[in-house]
Subunit: 286 residues, 2 copies
Amino acid sequence: MNWINEANVLIVGLGLMGGSYAMGLRKLGFRVTAIDTNESSIIYAKENGIIDEGSTKASPDMINAADAVIFALYPTTFKKWIVENQKHFKSGIFITDVTGVKKDVVYEIQSVLRDDVEFIASHPMAGRETSGVEHSDNKMFIGANYIITPTDKNTAEGIKWCGELGRLLGVGNISVLSPEEHDEMIGFVSQLTHVIAVSLMTCSDNVHLKDYTGDSFRDLTRIANINDKMWSELFLMNKDILMKEIDVFVNEMNSIKQMLEDNDREGLREKMRLSTQRRSLFNKKG
Amino acid sequence: MNWINEANVLIVGLGLMGGSYAMGLRKLGFRVTAIDTNESSIIYAKENGIIDEGSTKASPDMINAADAVIFALYPTTFKKWIVENQKHFKSGIFITDVTGVKKDVVYEIQSVLRDDVEFIASHPMAGRETSGVEHSDNKMFIGANYIITPTDKNTAEGIKWCGELGRLLGVGNISVLSPEEHDEMIGFVSQLTHVIAVSLMTCSDNVHLKDYTGDSFRDLTRIANINDKMWSELFLMNKDILMKEIDVFVNEMNSIKQMLEDNDREGLREKMRLSTQRRSLFNKKG
């Protein structure tokens, strides 16, 4: 399939991410359908022009009409859905997902998937501190990093198709990583940062400090507002890597603590200079 | 002294903070002078209308003309300056500071200060990830938290004067804490957050990850761009509290790691729900 405007795109899982894909694609002229077990999500999305049609059931007709399918489900329900419903897929279509971990998802889906359907996994690194279709916003993809994680089951055509989807939504940098590289990277830049934010909020009863916080504390804990169902799944699916990253980070905190204990001013300054120098490379590109 | 517009205000230490005080007060009609050993800072500030007059020396005339003095020096040089130059102060004036730690500063300054001059310590919780007078911006105080840390050497009149200074600059919430309470609070909301941000940047060579970062990593490391001279001083002056906070935080990280190890999904979700609930209390007031 090519991304031509006559295409029917099916979104499976109509939360914040699924809704944002739907909104972006429908604005571009695609016909967008959605399946979600939550009836109020379907009703909201139809009433607000986010989708053309929706169903709370895995409607064979709706599935069969789709020229492309985007899965925005919780990772644990994704495989079950494929096994039960893939018989309705039109032959030759490409499907993709938005899942935040890849190694435990991609190989399993590809191993059960019909031979005449191709799953190219991708991960748009965008989000909000809210969930639910009513917070959908296709602008969240503008300039975002977008990762494609192909395996040797994928074709050049499928990978190209998946990249074009990102480009249609306005993403910035498109990268291709192996599922393993993706999970290693995401363990550090996303999962570890969420563990840190949560720990800062839960390590002591700090609510009485709310009148004294500066922007730094607010920035570090913005993502402490977290969807517990989704993130506990993502953490556990990537637990070996995440536990290793926690160790590396905790060791560094402890080495700074040791410098404090030793009154090692020069050691502290050296860490701060390295930190400042590296951070300058992470400034957002315009 | 009252904050009447004819007053002469002397700023000692003309960096980012000193310059921002100067800018804000001069815009309100005060005559603002400044002392800083760095000649280019004085020249820049005069040329850009941040101050009326400046000196690279502790000019007796300039000090004696001041109806109020604001110290924006590195904490370690503050006491030395007072001992050497307080003989020039006009009798009866109030002086204040901007220092980010209080216990080790306030009592020492008050113990050496002339009896006819009152030092009321304060801490505007505002800043930028840049330093130097050329980044001065009086708007940084708008809505900021402002803490006054009086001791039993302070008068009600002095405390009122210090609060009015904050109000003139547009701060939001004005709080009164003891120096000890201030340092306990700041060890958590500001210093621990800076240790975390620095550790995230220095714990591994992560520069190759810059193409994959989402906003969460950028938010958590914004303050990893850090003035090493100032922050190493602030950390070491508050090291007992900061080391304790690092321990509390590291223990929490490790308890989350244990939950991962144990596949304790419900434990993780419980932490995330607590985190989300507490974080909602920290949203910035309008």
